[in-house]
Amino acid sequence: MHVDALIAPLLNGSAQGALLLLAALGLSLTFGQMGVINMAHGEFLMIGAFAAYLVQQVITASDLSIPVALPVAFVVAGLFGLLLEVTIIQWMYRRPLDTLLVTVGVGLILQQAALQIFPSQGVPVEKPGWLDGQLNILGYEWPLRQLFTILLATVCVAALSAWLKYTSFGRRIRATVHNRDLAETSGISTRTVDRLTFFTGSGLAGVAGVAASLIGGTNSQMGAQYIIPAFLVVAAGGIGQLKGTIIAAWAVGVALSYFAYWTTGSLAQVLAFILVIVFLQLRPQGLFTVRTRSLA
């Protein structure tokens, strides 16, 4: 076997894993830290992708539009998330399983709205010229945009963990997660923390959407195909564990890529799903677990 036959799925898979990680990062924040199961997260990703498209309509130079689109998508998707939190989620913190169903409904509405606002076959998001090239790695011509996805995911993970660790907002979020009542007693507004966490988590979905729009198509269905894999990644990584999410996303991405190389793309998805389900069978709490005193 030639060496690039082995290395190509590894590199492609790493990029796919990075994209999954971007999609799962926001989820791990909202699901892991707040216990909210947001099935509309995939639609926030879609909103980010459409935001990138709209930015390109204003700034036509594609070299510039993508760097501008990233923060725009973050803010737009974040605001949608904030709206969802304020209007619906905040009434449902005591019913986590029901948030799942409510957000399924929100996702349906957002999908249909996108289908009617934008052309049904989807819109093209132009790739900037500086992402056109390839990088030669052991004889395999690796597309630069895959490297870009990995870099973007790395930056987002680094920024998120630094934000959680070193800023006062981050400390407040962690305090609220650890002990909501005590945090409130010490003067932290847990409502503000909830809103900010939800804004950030949804905004990260928007950033993931920009990355997804550079790799696949941008259409109303794109969110639906990310939501289940992203949830499986978060679950396999362990709730509230960034490092677990990172490892799980990378592993799933690479596994998908190798399976697709050996079989077909759709069979690879089935196999990857089964792999994660079997893994959760062995470790129901995911890769890394937080030790708690709860009974379950």
Partner: protein, 363 residues
Amino acid sequence: MTKPWISLSGIGAFAVLLLGVAPFVLTDHWLNNLGKYCCWAIAAVGIGLAWGRGGMLVMGQGVFFALGAYSMAMHLTLETAGDRIPGFMVLYDPLAPLPAFWEPFRSAGFTLLAIVVLPVVLAGVLGYALFKRRVKGAYFAILTQALAVALAILISSTIRETGGDTGLSDFKYFFGYVLNDPANKLMVYLIAAGLLVVCLLAVWQLYRSRFGELLVATRDAEERVRFLGYDPANVKLVAFVVSALMASIGGAMFVPIVGIITPAEIGAAASIMMIAGVAFGGRASLFGPALGAMAVGWGQSSLGSTWPEGWTYILGLLFVVVILFLPNGLSSLPARIAAARRKPDPQPTPAAPAAAVLEEVRS
């Protein structure tokens, strides 16, 4: 629960309406549609058992629906094809042999057995593995949904073996009966409606048994049940297996009534629609899931074809409004109104706007 005859006479009235009245007042077209809603309602009764009473949000009932539906569809396809290879397989390769897993479905007995045994075995293995490891809540929901997605992808991609996205269709015979004959169509409808009544009777009996009490107890306080010496995993397992069996039966009857089965009928969206009906009608009540599923099925086939954009919005709003304001569905509405009447100055009832929207959906 204290007055069993109320529920029983309710089931009786429902049976008379479905089996005695509907065939005489409805046109063939609407009777066929009603048969389709009955199939969804059968699956919904199972979801009501697992989710409403058991607290397990089964978001992948499409998997079990598919087991029943594809078992039945394979048998009917082979029956239609006779000694030859089914038409769609020959399309891709004129000399294609019949896949080995199709062969046993030539036998009617094996097919009927498969419709019952396959979901029981799969749900049994899956449920045993998951519940014993105490997988629950959102994890369970996401895993079951992932299975439905995976199965739909698998069927879509195996076009030579399962018909892929076009699915299986053009059935001519149903266990020897010509499906085009109106009398036989009526028979198929009556079987589906009869099975729905049987399923209702079965859950009615389950709900008032000790098992039903234990199931609700497991839903509300799993740890206490464990401390009382029961194994909640076994309780949940039984409910999950029964609900899977009902989904499979619904799927099996869906095929001769609708005449086609595709991955779109069993995937994530279809599984979520089954949940929608149950949530709408009232997940924990006896009739709620079945009636809700029929209402949503009716919306799907009437509004969904004439006004598809609007239907998706309504379905989305249905989830939001019902779960947010009426978590126990429409069936809890009378009790809520009665409670509001008794206390003249309670909290402003959030049920009122919900009711307005739901009436709109229904009309």
